[in-house]
């Protein structure tokens, strides 16, 4: 993906750039809001990583200007202001996801890849597929290798979230946000317990495991 990172902290921006490039993306940097807006308008990016507090023009104002211009490039907002209401404010201004500082780079990478243009998790599909695992979103059924798998509603949503990002890391925080709609970090391994239950249903009786744990990051559905 071609990604524009708008961040005034040059060291942080450089780290993000390096990390994203290592993950196989093309990255441009802008260190203030004005330049960021110019660059976003000039080129066709697949995703934008946008800091909220920027010199010359703050992140939300940049985002609004972009949206008013009819530009629908997916945007991940970064901010030290991690409160839920500010998150809501950011999403309302047209952001696609919101990540509060401090974040780990894996979290940022997972989220950027999740919103990026080439993977559209909100696309109106009715069937999801990952190897021999199939999910019918209308009939609410899951089959693996032609065998029906019964899931609880929450397990279904958990699997749906993972399948929409097949091949990519989905972090625990992302799961908690997208599946449970909670925006806080639990102190316990609560997500792991749910994942291990899901794993028992979709992996246990089959030869090839497809639900993997990525150490220090989260989970990945990989065929």
């Amino acid at each position: 993906m071609r990604i524009l990172v708008v961040e005034d902290d040059e060291i942080a921006a450089e780290y993000v750039r390096k990390g994203l490039m290592e993950a196989g993306h093309v990255v441009d940097l802008a260190h203030d809001g004005e330049l960021g807006l110019e660059m976003a308008k000039a080129a066709d990016y697949d995703a934008l990583v946008l800091d909220r507090m920027l010199p010359k023009r703050d992140g939300l104002s940049l985002l609004r200007a972009l949206r008013e211009d009819g530009d629908a490039t997916p945007v991940l907002i970064l901010s030290a202001l991690g409160e839920v209401d500010q998150k809501v404010e950011g999403l309302r201004a047209g952001g696609d996801d919101y990540l509060a500082k401090p974040y780990s780079f894996t979290e940022l990478l997972a989220r950027v890849e999740a919103i990026g243009r080439r993977s559209d998790p909100t696309a109106a599909v009715t069937k999801l597929k990952a190897g021999d695992l199939e999910m019918d979103l209308l009939a609410r059924t899951v089959r693996r290798a032609g065998q029906n798998i019964l899931l609880q509603p929450r397990e279904f949503r958990l699997l749906e979230c993972l399948m929409r990002h097949t091949g990519k890391v989905v972090t625990r925080t992302m799961l908690l946000e997208k599946v449970w709609d909670y925006h806080f970090d639990p102190q316990t391994n609560v997500i792991d317990v749910h994942i291990s239950r899901l794993r028992a249903k979709i992996d246990k009786d089959f030869d090839l495991p497809i639900l993997h744990t990525v150490r220090g990051a989260g989970y990945r559905l990989q065929v």
Partner: protein, 471 residues
């Protein structure tokens, strides 16, 4: 009714306006009295004096010239247009120009002026409507058998006086009732404005710093007061914002380098091949995250304590919220070897923030999981307690908290000796308490329900919400 009248009399402005109305009524009465004396009384005294003068003249005439002469003179005086009325009785003579024979009842002896009524109709027209007039008279004996009475019509003076009096009395009555009405009106208005100030103070104290006193720009004292209050509130608001801005800036400034530190450690750990070094780097990275999480939790509590988010509370059914929490934590409880139960009694509605309340309840559940020895029981319960208040509680079979420490553990960074070894920052209950405060709920800690199976005291942490009010 009685209460509202009492409230009215407790109102300063109403009392002041009543005093003003009473003073006005009293001074009107004084003015009325003065007008009466200055017009009617003076006039009557003049008439009385003139009547006395005339009687003196006639008496002198009688004593000098005798009864017949006097009679003639009186008849002479009775010419039309003179305005004086006479009654003269002497021996068998009776001379009068009034169609009335006054009952004298000893008046001549006393010689005092007196009042009587007579028919003032003109004699020449017998069909005319009788006109009863008042007259002022004096009488005096003439010799043994006779007397003389002189009188003057005072009807005009008296009716004028009566009219003026009536008008003044009515105007006093009107002034009093207008005073009462305007007193009620003004005092209500005043009470409303003062109530607005009281409500403002309550709201501000509750954390709604955006509220301002209503102004009508009339420039009166209350409006001035409102203006000054608003300026003061603006000032406080600016200070608060400056403080928040400073906090945010610190958060921004500190988190960025800490994030970099963490990212560097993370990156380094991925690059290092040596397993031992990598473990150290990963642990350092985890420590950095823990540091940042603690910092964030402190900021979060500080923000909650301003009460700003109270206006964002919405009516919700806690049942669904607890079912979600139970669904999230049930498996973790089972994994830790505990029996987990969700108990819901009755219908409930709360004014709450789903995210914050979920976090508070999940903190309580996580505490229960953390401190309860394997094989314990955890109960998440929703029920009504006294006076229709809703209570959400988490009861465990862990070691509990000694009664003396229950207030202390709600403070930031307070961790009991027994739990020092367990992971945690000592901010969990402080956050729950701050969330409770935001919801105007109470966080109550008490003993659990020890039993044969679970001999430990246990802890029962309950959030008790105020009665739901439709807004």
């Amino acid at each position: 009714m009685f209460a509202s009248v009492r409230r009215l009399f407790n109102n300063t402005i109403f009392r002041l306006s009543m005093i003003a109305a009473s003073l006005f009524a009293f001074s009107s009465l004084v003015v009325l009295g003065y007008i009466y004396v200055a017009t009617v009384s003076v006039e009557i005294i003049n008439i009385d004096n003139r009547l006395k003068q005339e009687l003196d003249e006639i008496e002198a005439m009688y004593l000098e010239k005798g009864g017949d002469y006097t009679n003639k003179q009186i008849i002479h005086r009775m010419r039309p247009g003179q305005g004086t009325m006479y009654v003269y009785v002497h021996n068998n003579d009776f001379t009068s120009n009034i169609a009335f024979k006054p009952q004298l009842d000893g008046e001549p002896e006393r010689g005092r002026p007196f009042q009587f009524v007579y028919n003032a109709t003109n004699d020449t027209n017998p069909n005319a409507q009788a006109q009863i007039h008042r007259a002022r008279a004096r009488a005096r004996f003439m010799g043994r058998t006779g007397y003389i009475l002189v009188a003057r019509d005072v009807e005009l003076i008296m009716t004028t006086a009566e009219r003026v009096t009536r008008a003044l009395l009515i105007s006093i009555a009107i002034a009093l009732s207008l005073g009462l009405i305007s007193g009620i009106y003004v005092s209500r208005r005043f009470a409303r404005r003062v109530d607005a100030f009281n409500k403002l103070a309550t709201d501000i104290r509750a954390g709604d710093l955006k509220r301002r006193a209503p102004r009508d720009h009339s420039g009166d004292e209350l409006d001035d007061l409102a203006g000054h209050l608003n300026e003061m509130l603006d000032h406080i608001d600016r200070l608060m914002q400056a403080m928040r801005y400073a906090g945010d800036s610190i958060a921004h400034d500190l988190r960025s380098p800490l994030t970099r530190l963490q990212t560097r450690l993370e990156g380094a750990s991925a690059a290092v091949k040596d397993k031992a070094s990598r473990t150290v780097l990963l642990e350092a990275s985890d420590d950095a995250s823990q540091l940042l999480r603690t910092f964030e939790a402190v900021l979060r509590i500080a923000r909650l304590e301003t009460g700003e988010r109270r206006e964002m509370l919405v009516a919700l059914d806690p049942r669904a919220l607890l079912e979600d929490i139970a669904e999230l934590y049930g498996p973790s409880c089972e994994e830790a070897g505990h029996v987990f139960r969700l108990e819901i009694e009755g219908k409930h509605q709360l004014r709450a923030d789903r995210g914050l309340l979920s976090q508070a309840v999940s903190n309580l559940v996580e505490n229960a999981i953390k401190y309860t020895p394997k094989g314990g029981g955890i109960i998440l319960s929703l029920r009504k307690v006294k006076s229709g208040r809703t209570e959400i509680s988490v009861t465990d079979t862990g070691p509990g908290i000694p009664a003396g420490d229950r207030g202390r553990v709600k403070e930031r960074f307070v961790r009991l000796e027994e739990s020092r070894t367990a992971p945690g920052s000592g901010l969990g209950l402080a956050l729950v308490d701050a969330v409770a405060d935001l919801h105007r709920a109470q966080l109550e800690l008490s003993d659990g329900n020890p039993s044969e199976e679970h001999p430990l005291v246990g802890l029962r942490a309950a959030l008790i919400f105020p009665k739901f009010k439709r807004s």
